[in-house]
């Protein structure tokens, strides 16, 4: 029951607040916060009860849903999803609190937001492919409205572009799912059963299905060349929605690859490992250079997401213990760090109503607390040792370099350029925005306020703590990764 509760508490909260009379916005905010908080608490209970020494599914719920199709309502957590579960509920609560500054159409905003949370949680917990797909698509509609109603100047364009792009990916994925269903001997959507039946799928079939699913997942990640929706959506979305978008939604793509492709289509994963590594390299380098070219702070962070998701892909393409653990850890870290960065960009935008990197200067003396926090987040993002980002990026690279393949080593080496460029653009940004003589125009900017601190500080604390104790998160996935590596190793020719 616990997982069902976690998943649907936000939706119940969302439905409840529809009945709040008009004008009582504070009650709406209260209900939304309560729902998100309960979801977080429940997910922490799951985390505490989670047994790291097991590789199998835990907290399993398995019920018949549509008998004639053999569809089941099947939830469970394992090492791949537990970190994502907590990340989702944490970022959702933080985003809800940050969203107190939304003043127009409050009720609808929080309704869509909580619906989105349910969709995201469902994606990470579902173990039935049909259910997975339903949750996957449920995230689209609220996101469309969240960007389209409360977004920036080009919100309508960004909203529909996001919607069309991701729907395109997911309908192709749907064909793949249906084909898998009919190909499986027992006609099932059960992911674990499908994984067991993986040997019965021919190589060609696996490759075709992998390609179909990959389009769906790659658009979400986003993998170059499917990334063009991302800068638009991130820049136009309201701050809290950008946090969710970068922090959680992108992870659905890489999570899907791990959960589905890696376990159900192992042959194809081996076949496509090298192309995936190349795409990862492009993501890393291209994303970094694009970020460097940006004048808009938010757009820069958006492109840095493409860059950072590239590390995840690189770790996955390596298929080594270090690489896969690093990839999962990097998914978590990117959620925390980029979430914080988007919040911080939101803070400055709310005050200055501009995000032009060139237009600031010397904010360090005007908003010292804000500057300090921003520095920590930036350093975590560029992988400074002592902060969480370092470990995951290091492991992704380490894992990729361990592969006994010259091309893989070359790709990994080239990808390292991305790290340098990342450091460069972040440092340039810090120099332009926070250092130097204080810009007269911004003398009166108020310091970061309490609500904003409440939202950012927990994320900063996590970055620091995980910087020293990375094993807290790493341990969660290690058993699953071990069995996955073993499984992939066994079929290697």
């Amino acid at each position: 029951m616990l997982l069902t509760l976690v998943t649907f508490i936000p939706l119940i909260g969302g439905l409840a607040l529809l009945f709040v009379p008009k004008g009582k916005d504070d009650i709406v905010r209260g209900i939304a916060t309560a729902a998100a908080a309960v979801a977080l608490i429940l997910s922490v209970i799951v985390l505490l009860g989670y047994d790291k020494s097991l590789a199998g599914m835990q907290f399993v719920e398995h019920r018949i849903w549509i008998p004639s199709l053999n569809v089941t309502y099947y939830l469970g957590v394992d090492g791949l999803s537990i970190a994502m579960l907590v990340l989702t509920t944490l970022l959702s609560l933080i985003s809800v609190i940050y969203s107190y500054n939304i003043t127009s159409r409050v009720k609808e905003y929080f309704f869509f937001f909580l619906l989105l949370e349910t969709g995201m949680l469902g994606v990470f917990l579902a173990l039935d492919f049909f259910l997975f797909y339903v949750f996957w698509e449920i995230t689209l509609v609220p996101m469309y409205f969240l960007i389209g109603i409360w977004g920036g100047p080009r919100k309508e364009y960004a909203a529909i572009k996001f919607f069309l792009y991701t729907l395109f990916g997911s309908v192709i994925m749907l064909l793949g799912i249906i084909a898998l269903y009919f190909a499986s001997p027992s006609h099932t959507f059960n992911m674990l059963e499908l994984a067991e039946q993986a040997p019965t799928f021919t190589k060609l079939f696996q490759n075709v299905i992998y390609a179909a699913l990959f389009i769906g997942f790659a658009i979400k990640v986003p993998v170059f060349p499917f990334h063009t929706w991302l800068p638009d959506a991130h820049v136009e979305a309201p701050t809290a929605v950008s946090v969710i978008l970068a922090g959680v939604l992108l992870k659905m793509g890489t999570y899907g690859m791990l959960r589905v492709s890696f376990s159900i289509l192992p042959q194809a994963v081996l076949y496509f490992a090298m192309p995936l590594a190349v795409l990862a390299m492009i993501n890393i380098i291209y994303g970094a250079y694009c970020a460097m070219a940006q004048k808009d702070l938010k757009k820069m962070i958006a492109y840095s997401s493409i860059n950072h998701m590239g590390y995840v892909l690189l770790g996955m393409a390596a298929m080594t213990t270090a690489g896969l653990n690093g990839a999962i850890f990097q998914m978590f870290n990117h959620g925390i760090i980029t979430g914080a960065l988007f919040l911080l960009v939101g803070v400055i935008y709310d005050r200055a109503h501009t995000r032009d990197i060139e237009g600031f200067g010397g904010l360090g003396s005007i908003m010292p607390v804000y500057t300090g926090i921003m520095m920590v987040a930036v350093f975590a993002s560029l992988g400074l040792p002592g902060l969480s980002g370092f470990w995951s990026e290091f492991m992704c690279f380490l894992g990729a370099f361990q592969v006994q393949n010259t091309w893989m080593k070359i790709i990994t080496g080239l990808s390292a350029i991305g790290i340098v460029v990342t450091a460069a653009y972040f440092l340039i940004m810090i120099q332009k925005v926070f250092l130097g003589p204080a810009n007269e125009k911004w003398k009166s900017l108020p310091e970061i306020n309490r609500r904003e601190l409440i939202t950012v500080v927990p994320l900063i604390v996590i970055m620091v703590v995980l910087g020293f104790l990375p094993r807290i998160v790493m341990e969660l996935s290690s058993k699953n990764v071990d069995s996955m590596v073993k499984m992939l190793g066994a079929i290697k020719p």
């Binding site: 529809l18 849903w65 549509i66 008998p67 004639s68 199709l69 159409r105 009720k107 609808e108 797909y133 339903v134 698509e137 449920i138 689209l140 509609v141 469309y144 409205f145 389209g148 109603i149 919100k155 309508e156 529909i160 919607f163 069309l164 729907l167 395109f168 309908v171 192709i172 749907l174 064909l175 249906i178 084909a179 269903y181 009919f182």
Partner: protein
């Protein structure tokens, strides 16, 4: 062959009941004062139609009766329920649709009831002659219904186009039918199926005749290239009639088409391919043209054409192999969910129309600010039409695509065309949402939604969600209704 016997009429109790209802309404209409007609005559028709539902559901399926002309099977009953339900919804909508005046509301309801009767026979027909008679019966009723707002030139234009194209296609249909009867020596579907599946059963004469008949079916289900009447008729017709046209008339058309196709097309690779090509053309053309529309009713007409294309995929799947069950189930389910979401969306459109006075998307600008709930309901229908979970439209789409993928790799291209189309469709459905949610608010007038419309919108929206969240009963209903060819 069974001979005609009076006993057979026992199995036609629901039909006889609806016939009596129609006559009763005509008589009542004569003796009821104008000012209470809207209330009473309409209520009686709605109630009568509702009463025919249990008759339909609980009457045991019998099989072929009346000299094999009519088949009372679960397949037909499933479609009859769709037809009756949509008529109930359409009549309830008509009550709150101002352009249909009090003076004519009695005849209007009688015509709807007669159209329902015709459609009930249509879906039961198992003989080409019976098919032709019932199709014409229905068409004539709809010609009049479409042109019901006499002083509106658009209504007249729609009716005239519907009529002219209908007359042409009926002529071609009869011609094709005659060729088919000559070549096979029978007009009965069951006998025909046997003859066709004997060696050398398909003569060139039959193929010509069948393709000509396809024109008639194509017209009925708004299949490209016989769809041109649909946008004008949908736009011009009173909105309740549009809802009925799109939900019931199309379902009935598909019921007949599938019945004939199962008898005549199954196993003929070239005919199946022809249907597949028509399906791809229909959905692509419908979607591409829908992109340009600003009038919501016109847009829904084109979207309806696209949906016909999706349902045709199910027909293709049903006819392509030896296992037609999944294909037939998908057609049944799709017809049902399409009825739900279309009725719902038209109910919302009527509510908006009563406020804004027209059906242009732009006039919906910002309407969600003062009507958050109604707009949310509209979003449910749009999401469903786009085939996105958690709505009925997704289940329909899922089944159709499952059926076509199960049919094997030879129709994978059709599945891909269909999938691409559903992305295109999203764009224009959400253009409506764009105006409703993102447009600048014109005034903060609240839409006065009458209780009846609210009930229709609420019930259909609830069902549209339920079909995805708890689809078991709906799927089993469709499964037991699968026609055994």
């Amino acid at each position: 062959m069974n001979t005609v016997s009076l006993k057979d009429f026992i199995y036609l109790i629901p039909e006889s009941f609806v016939l009596c209802l129609g006559i009763l309404i005509l008589i009542l209409d004569l003796f009821t004062p104008v000012n209470i007609r809207r209330k009473h005559v309409l209520n009686i028709s709605v109630l009568g139609l509702l009463l025919s539902l249990p008759l339909l559901v609980y009457a045991p399926p019998k099989g072929l009766i009346l000299g094999d002309m009519v088949s009372i099977d679960t397949y037909a009953i499933f479609f009859k329920c769709i037809i009756v339900l949509s008529a109930v919804f359409a009549l309830t909508m008509a009550k709150f649709y101002a352009p249909i005046k009090d003076e004519v509301i009695g005849e209007f309801s009688a015509l709807v009831v007669f159209a329902v009767l015709g459609m009930m026979f249509m879906v039961s027909s198992s003989d080409l002659l019976m098919i032709f008679l019932s199709v014409e019966f229905v068409s004539i009723a709809f010609f009049i219904l479409t042109g019901y707002i006499k002083n509106d030139p658009k209504s007249a234009e729609g009716a005239l186009k519907y009529f002219l194209i209908g007359a042409f296609s009926a002529g071609i249909f009869v011609y094709g039918m005659s060729l088919v009867i000559i070549s096979t020596g029978t007009s009965n579907l069951k006998a025909m199926s046997g003859i066709l599946h004997a060696p050398a059963g398909y003569s060139p004469l039959f193929l010509t005749g069948f393709l000509l008949m396809l024109v008639g079916f194509g017209y009925k289900i708004a299949m490209v290239p016989f769809h041109t009447w649909a946008p004008d008729a949908y736009e011009g017709a009173p909105t309740p009639v549009t809802a009925l046209l799109s939900a019931a008339s199309k379902a009935a058309g598909f019921a007949v088409l599938l019945r004939v196709a199962l008898a005549a097309v199954t196993g003929r690779a070239d005919l199946v391919l022809a249907l597949a090509v028509l399906s791809a053309l229909t959905m692509t053309a419908g979607n591409l043209m829908a992109l340009q529309q600003n009038n919501v009713k016109r847009l829904l007409a084109y979207s309806g054409i696209a949906h016909s294309g999706y349902i045709l995929m199910g027909v293709v799947a049903a006819c392509s192999g030896t296992e037609p069950e999944l294909g037939i189930t998908s057609v049944l389910l799709y017809a049902f969910v399409y009825m739900l979401m279309n009725i719902g969306v038209f109910a919302v459109i009527i509510a908006f129309f009563n406020k804004t006075g027209n059906d242009d998307m732009q006039s919906y600008s910002g309407i969600s600010k003062s009507n958050p709930y109604l707009s949310l309901v509209l979003v449910v229908f749009l999401v469903s039409l786009a085939g996105i979970p958690p709505t009925a439209g997704f289940i329909g789409k899922f089944y159709v695509f499952s059926a076509i993928i199960k049919a094997g790799p030879k129709f994978l291209w059709l599945a891909i065309v269909g999938i691409m189309n559903s992305v295109v469709a999203l764009y224009y459905y959400f253009r409506i949402a764009y105006f409703v949610y993102f447009g600048a608010q014109k005034d903060d007038g609240k839409v006065e939604i009458t209780a009846g419309l609210a009930v229709i919108a609420g019930v259909t929206a609830g069902l549209a969600l339920l079909v995805c969240i708890y689809p078991g009963p709906f799927i089993s209903a469709a499964k037991v209704s699968v026609l055994i060819p």
